[in-house]
Assembly symmetry: C3
Homo-oligomer: 414 residues x 3
């Protein structure tokens, strides 16, 4: 058991020597907390909680680093050149102990499952079904929002009380009826960014509608004609209102099942990744590292990530270990213009869909490469998460255990 | 008649209940002012002033919003779910009246035709023709430039007295002779950005030429060999001189008519969109919202927009309602690398040509999606305009009225 | 001989009337200094020093401009419209003499060969060969680094004592063994950005390894499986450590010779261009203008430039005179998504490979088009260099002189 710092009120046992096969991730008995965390960023609800939780506990642990450098997370990998035994400081050097201690502590919080201690993000909102119409009912509220588990909540705004708002998903051709009730003390308007809508449904106050006054409601209704990755957000005093959290993902699945990512690419996870960079600092899906949830995949699995930028700065997302195939931009398939990269700049308002073949086992950093958005003098923070690819042994044990099939939170059919 | 604020010295009647067919836009009797505005951003000169002016008057109107929310601009659209009748504030809420009033007022200025009260932008400069040579004569001047109709003019610089400078347009293979007379109290140099020129014509003082001293002239002469969207601007103390307005569009039409946008895409408008972000704040073609001119098109019309960034920041341009097909970069056709999007990041120095099929009627916001470049606590400002797509009834009435055929300001032939 | 300013301690003779053929560049007797400078940015070692040095001397010269405007560098070009004879200031104008003097002086330093007075950059590190393994031994050191020849050195960090670190180059399929000895007073970790590596070799302290303590070493070993343009840099306290210089280029040549740029495109120069924008300001390969080295090519030559961004801002690189064909992104060939442009935005962490056909003779500015990264009130600085294309006469005289064939510093074979 690790030594615990005084500000970690819920000491828990942490697997202190995880190797590449990460027993911690597979401990099926600890699903309740970690399971939620594992799919928080993935924005997916498994048929049952998946067994690939990466931590046995729900409580964040903030610990000083081992007095002597312990085994690294990858230390179990055999056959690789190892850490030089000599750790004696150079005679003229004073080790920067404080930085390393803080950097280790924050990573421990991340790998210890801090995301699991917070509500899941991008949870889909189940619509009421009325023939071909999908009815979504949302409120617009002032909320207290936690960027991570330790900082005081920020005074934010949310659709249905959360930031990002609930994930709205329909199939091309369905009619969307989205009823927004404004519980704020200020007026607002909602724009479905990327959709073709009747002009009166475009959500730009004073141009296409009057502002939605405090206490009032407004119903947006349109046929979902533009498949792909889109967003909904405030278009009223928007620098402020979007910055404080009035934003969410709007996914339109193609009418033809063969064009959906599970069919097209064999993707078994379909992940929404919304960035913001104002209130609460640098966030992914409303969380800052170490409260960002990792993406967890099995070796060989193919996943889709839908980057959406709701902030005011470009962020170049860099995935370690394996490349991203970029297949769509703003919902439109790139076709012959598709490309492969490991670092993808996403400008405000843009959406980019990428496919990742998870063929390299390990824990791979996944972060904004504007380094001050990702790391400071006290370690990593903000726009950092990881793609954790479980090796074959883990995948086999999962199947043997009768692990439930993964169900993407973005419904492939209506 | 609307109530007028004291700082609106020229009260005019404004159509206060415009619907989708926008009678205001079609009032053929009011072409003199609005007509210029309508093509200001479009940078086009109609054979006669087009009848699609969106405002009947030349004077900006700054009015407080209606005491009770009036009909929205899109209220005439039938068959759409309407605004909820309940406008009672939530019991705990205080309506943010001031923001809404200011936001409405600035939009009213925009839709009321503020752009029409200012000189047109991107007006083409007719060259003298000498065989295959096109001779452009320009002065370089200190100017007072209006970002909008209400703010005090800024002390700026301009070619031929305007910011952006006049649009220069030639056909591939023609010889360009551009004579610049420096009326400034400081030296300068002019770079044709994107062109292949003899090195001595490249306009980089101390490397390819001496600076053009105050009172002196310099003649740039070269064969226009690189078709597409290019620019000319200062390359001397350029952070300052370009920031203050020494910039303009330089268009080289392909020699083969079949390669021009009217032939290639059936484009009937060819619009230059130059952004800047230093002196005068966030501007499109030297104007900030609400003095930016809307693009006005008929339903079904195809238009081309040439984004050019003369500022120091990337701007992601977002068009509501319909997508943009991106067909050229820096003047070079993208070919198989062409793509479709609704938000397009344009970096400083880049030019991107996009084709828009105007197939959704209505008034569509068109703005930089770095929200603080587009909206503040008092409403929208800076890098905002709109694409106004007139519906079929409007188009028919235009034809019936014998409206003149549109003539693009960018000459398709020399 | 030019008049020298007091702060130029090493007066040297400078060819004061260079024309397009630039006798200075061809003075074969002055190779020792200028030759190094000519290939500093090009990061290439000629079989013997190339004769296309652009300056006869190694010492920077800081001179006031001529009292009367002298012949411009391109003045020798005949048949072009010339500078207007009238230099009389406008009656109301006061010439901005100071700016011009400073601007001219800094360009004179650049063309006079300031880069040649500083150590070369991106020099390749020759590995020890052990079968299929390439062993690179590097130290991590605190260094004094010169951004240019006149400013005081900055307290920086370097691999093997230089910023950028030495260029590491291998062939796809070779095993890389890179041994880093940490001579700093702080811990660190090294990430091979863009490579597929075993997770334990990914260089993210506390996730894939323990930090490399002061005085300790760490060996990274992996098979180079991802061809193309990659980087190595600190991934520990990285905002600070990369900002201070812990970065370098890592090139993996494709296993098939036919896929290498010399075969694919006939490229005879293969140039690494790493930008940074924190400590030391805006730099290319660790130098700011006028200490950036120009790229020097013969008319008709094809060159490859590999842009790599190790900074925290996007930089749009603009080449005057001729376009860039963009063929790879992050090491992955773009294929059908390849495109042509003259201004290319490169985000932090991204790498873009471009091919330039040097078919326009002259000295062409090549700079970041965010103008405040390139020019200030006292002239150009920071992210500016030039592509100097020698005309045919020069190329012929080179061949006649038996000039040695150029050898790219990036070995095409291992």
């Amino acid at each position: 058991m690790d030594t615990l710092s005084p500000d970690s009120p819920s000491p828990v046992e942490v697997d202190s020597t995880p190797g590449l096969s990460r027993r911690g991730f597979l401990r099926a008995g600890a699903l309740a907390g970690g399971g939620i965390a594992a799919v928080a960023l993935a924005a997916c609800t498994p048929a049952a909680a998946p067994p690939w939780t990466y931590a046995p506990s729900a409580a964040p642990t903030v610990s000083p680093p081992p007095a002597s450098p312990g085994a690294s997370l990858a230390a179990a990998a055999s056959g690789e050149p190892s850490h030089d035994a000599s750790h004696a400081p150079a005679s003229s050097a004073t080790p920067a102990v404080d930085h390393d201690a803080n950097a280790a502590a924050v990573i421990k919080r991340f790998l210890g499952g801090e995301a699991a201690t917070l509500p899941p993000v991008n949870a889909p909102l189940a619509p009421k079904v009325a023939g071909d119409t999908r009815v979504f009912e949302l409120t617009i509220d002032a909320i207290d929002h936690r960027i991570d588990a330790l900082k005081d909540p920020v005074k934010a705004l949310g659709y249905n009380g959360v930031w990002p708002g609930p994930l709205l998903s329909v199939v091309e051709g369905q009619t969307v009826r989205a009823i927004f009730k404004n519980n704020l003390a200020e007026s607002t308007g909602v724009h479905f960014h990327g959709q073709r809508v009747p002009n009166a449904m475009d959500g730009v106050p004073h141009i296409t509608q009057e502002p939605i006054q405090p206490g009032a409601s407004f119903t947006y209704e349109f046929v979902a004609r533009t498949p792909g990755s889109h967003m909904y957000h405030s278009h009223h005093n928007a620098t402020d209102q979007v910055g404080r959290g009035l934003l969410g993902a709007f996914i339109v699945q193609p009418r033809e099942p063969a064009k959906r990512y599970d069919s097209l690419y064999g993707a078994s996870q379909d992940i929404v990744w919304i960035s913001n960079d104002t209130l609460g600092g640098f966030t992914i899906n409303g969380r800052g590292f170490p409260a960002t949830a990792p993406i967890v995949a099995r070796l060989g699995e193919t996943i889709v990530i839908r980057f959406m930028n709701e902030g005011i700065m470009m962020h170049p997302w860099h995935l370690h270990g394996m490349p991203m195939r970029v297949v769509a931009r703003d919902g439109y398939p790139l076709g012959a213009a598709a490309f492969t990269c490991d670092t993808l700049g996403v400008n405000p308002g843009e959406r980019w869909d990428v496919v990742v073949k998870c063929d390299e086992p390990g824990a791979w950093a996944f972060h904004c490469h504007i380094l001050p958005h990702a790391e400071g003098p006290d370690g990593m923070y903000g726009m950092v998460t990881a793609l954790i690819v479980q090796d074959k042994a883990a995948a086999v044990s999962l199947a043997a255990a009768g692990a439930p099939a993964y169900t993407c939170v973005i419904p492939a059919s209506g």
